[in-house]
């Protein structure tokens, strides 16, 4: 018994993993949303969080992002309990991007991108040339320079999502968490945002965790998948290991067919329609 405890303590200090999650549970009031999740996320990978609506994907991402308070000793980021980080230090390591961006006041796109510099600035300080440089680079990554002077309220949702990613890049995090970055977008914008993220991951070693509904895109872009159902972790592994007929039918409660794409080996998950 004592040796197990010692082992866990040893394990949590392991900073070679990006996230180590141990028995994470989360309740909204009395309702359990996440039940006893345990997994490791290695650094430099793209992890997809998949599962039916209400399976706890958003709550998991918010917990990992420090938005929702996680119980002590359940989430370790780079070897340290996420609750022990100072807010601004945490923001220098990870950034969480919401699914939707409701807004009241008319900030310019470049002002929204510049908000990413917040953790690096003390109170009363204005951004200097370095900050502007970093913001410009972030807008180049995401091809958002051309509308940097426009109002964030007045651009399309695909463009907004890219601006939010630019803002996150300006934050210079090591981990980026995105809550369904593609679900409100058409297929062109979906590919656009995912290609930007993939390039970031390849060229800068940024770790990414994204909640995603489209299983085909998940298999194409993710190195690892976490499959949730009812707040429980059902499967965890490479897309080939997780996207299996038996597993998916059990989780989504529909009959499916897995069709490997002959061109790139990605897995197309298609429902089996009753009449076909």
């Amino acid at each position: 018994m004592s040796s197990t405890t010692a082992n866990i303590q040893m394990d949590t200090k392991d900073s070679s993993v990006c996230f180590r999650v141990i028995n994470l549970s989360f309740f909204y009031g009395e309702t359990p949303i996440l039940k006893d999740l345990s997994f490791d996320l290695p650094p430099g990978e793209i992890t997809g969080v998949i599962g039916p609506n209400g399976s706890g994907k958003s709550t998991l991402l918010k917990s990992l992002g420090g938005i929702l308070p996680a119980p002590k000793n359940s989430i370790f980021l780079q070897g340290m309990d996420i609750g022990d980080y100072k807010k601004k230090s945490l923001a220098k390591i990870l950034c969480w991007i919401p699914q939707e961006n409701p807004m009241v006041f008319s900030f310019l796109v470049k002002e929204v991108v510049m908000m990413g510099r917040h953790p690096y600035l003390s109170a009363l300080k204005f951004e200097d040339e370095t900050d502007h440089q970093i913001a410009r680079q972030a807008m180049q990554w995401t091809e958002t320079e051309m509308f940097s002077e426009r109002l964030f309220n007045q651009i399309s949702s695909g463009e907004k999502q890219r601006v939010m990613v630019a803002s996150a890049i300006a934050q210079e995090p090591e981990v980026m968490l995105l809550d369904e970055p593609t679900s409100a977008l058409d297929i062109k914008f979906q590919l656009e945002i995912l290609n930007i993220l993939k390039r970031l991951n390849k060229e800068t070693g940024l770790s990414l965790v994204l909640a995603i509904h489209d299983l085909h895109l998940a298999s194409k872009y993710c190195d690892q998948l976490l499959l949730l159902k009812g707040g429980k972790l059902v499967a965890n592994g490479t897309p080939e290991e997780v996207l299996k007929k038996e597993i998916l039918e059990e989780v989504y409660e529909v009959e499916v067919k897995i069709i490997p794409n002959p061109d790139d080996g990605s897995l197309l998950v298609s429902p089996v329609f009753p009449n076909s």
Partner: protein, 325 residues
């Protein structure tokens, strides 16, 4: 640059308005050393009647405008104003109780009405915050908004009750107070409320960038390292306290705290590092101009300044809004 223009506008307002009034005064005579101050009518009008009133208008206007911008940012609502958390309702109740009981205890250069009004606004604020249950590192802003509005209404009905139970003289005084005005003033009143207003404004300026992020969205703000809860509570309490202090001496002057931030935002955008200082300058200028109109338009009768702010500010804001679209 923009800030400079707003400052210049305030400076011009401060220089021009003391010259305007029912009696025309000569600056040369007012600053003349040859006539003793007590016999120098021009100097008396300038330094004892007009100047303290103009300075008080500046303090009240800038405090209300800056608070308003912060309320709108934190509550993420265009209709939020410094009085949203029940501060003015509480102040009104305190004031009418003081009037009804004919209290006569002065404290720190402030009239009993002002003191009771300030206590009233503190009670309202405490009541609203005691009703809030915190969830997950941020205040439930829509709940706060509803609680504040309800507390305001509740206190407003108590004000009516007290008014109903008062005699005709008291009742007139109550109605007059509720219209808001800067007519009863001296330097001591300004000195009494200035420390609180200055500290409050300094705190709001300190959190200016945090307000940008919180107004954008509280969860994205958390993800960027903002202590959202701290920013919300400190911002709302500071803004409410300076509102309470000014309402206590001027009565509830509506509209300035709602409209001035919108006007300034339409002109310069929503960055609070610029917005708050510009609101300070423009709120002061706006209030001084309104009060100048209040004391001259129907002279020798005075119009309550609260009436002018809405009559003047409303159409101006609508015009600006139309032009934007």
């Amino acid at each position: 640059m923009t800030l400079g223009w707003f400052f210049l506008f305030l400076l011009v307002t401060l220089l021009v308005t003391p010259m305007i009034g029912t009696t025309s005064i000569s600056l040369g005579k007012a600053f003349s050393n040859e006539i003793p101050f007590n016999e120098n009518v021009d100097a008396n009008i300038l330094f004892i009647v007009r100047l303290p009133r103009i300075l008080l208008a500046a303090v009240v206007g800038s405090a209300l405008a800056a608070s308003g911008s912060v309320f709108q940012a934190i509550l993420r609502n265009d209709l939020a104003a410094p009085i949203t958390l029940g501060v003015s309702g509480g102040a009104a109740l305190g004031a009418v109780i003081a009037i009804r009981l004919e209290l006569d205890t002065w404290f720190w250069g402030l009239a009993p009405i002002s003191i009771c009004a300030f206590i009233g606004s503190l009670s309202a604020l405490a009541l609203v915050f005691s009703l809030v249950r915190v969830r997950y590192r941020e205040l439930p802003t829509s709940y706060l908004l509803l609680a504040g509005v309800t507390v305001n209404f509740f206190f407003a009905s108590l004000v009516m009750l007290v008014n109903y139970l008062s005699n005709i003289t008291q009742s007139f005084q109550i109605v007059r107070w509720l219209m808001g005005g800067l007519d009863i003033t001296d330097y001591q009143i300004i000195i009494s409320i200035l420390p609180m207003v200055l500290i409050g404004i300094a705190i709001l300026l300190y959190f200016a960038r945090d307000f940008n992020l919180v107004s954008f969205g509280s969860e994205p703000a958390m993800s960027r390292g903002v202590d959202v809860m701290k920013v919300q509570v400190t911002g709302l309490v500071s803004a409410s306290l300076i509102t309470g202090a000014t309402v206590a001496v001027s009565g509830p002057i509506g509209f300035v705290g709602l409209i001035v931030p919108h006007i300034v935002r339409l002109m310069i955008g929503p960055d609070h590092r610029l917005l708050i200082p510009c609101c300070l300058f423009f709120g002061a200028s706006f209030m001084i101009i309104c009060d100048t109109l209040a004391r001259t338009l129907l002279a020798p009768t005075e119009i309550p300044v609260g009436v002018i702010t809405a009559i003047l500010g409303g159409p101006f804001f609508l015009w600006l809004l139309q032009r934007q679209r």
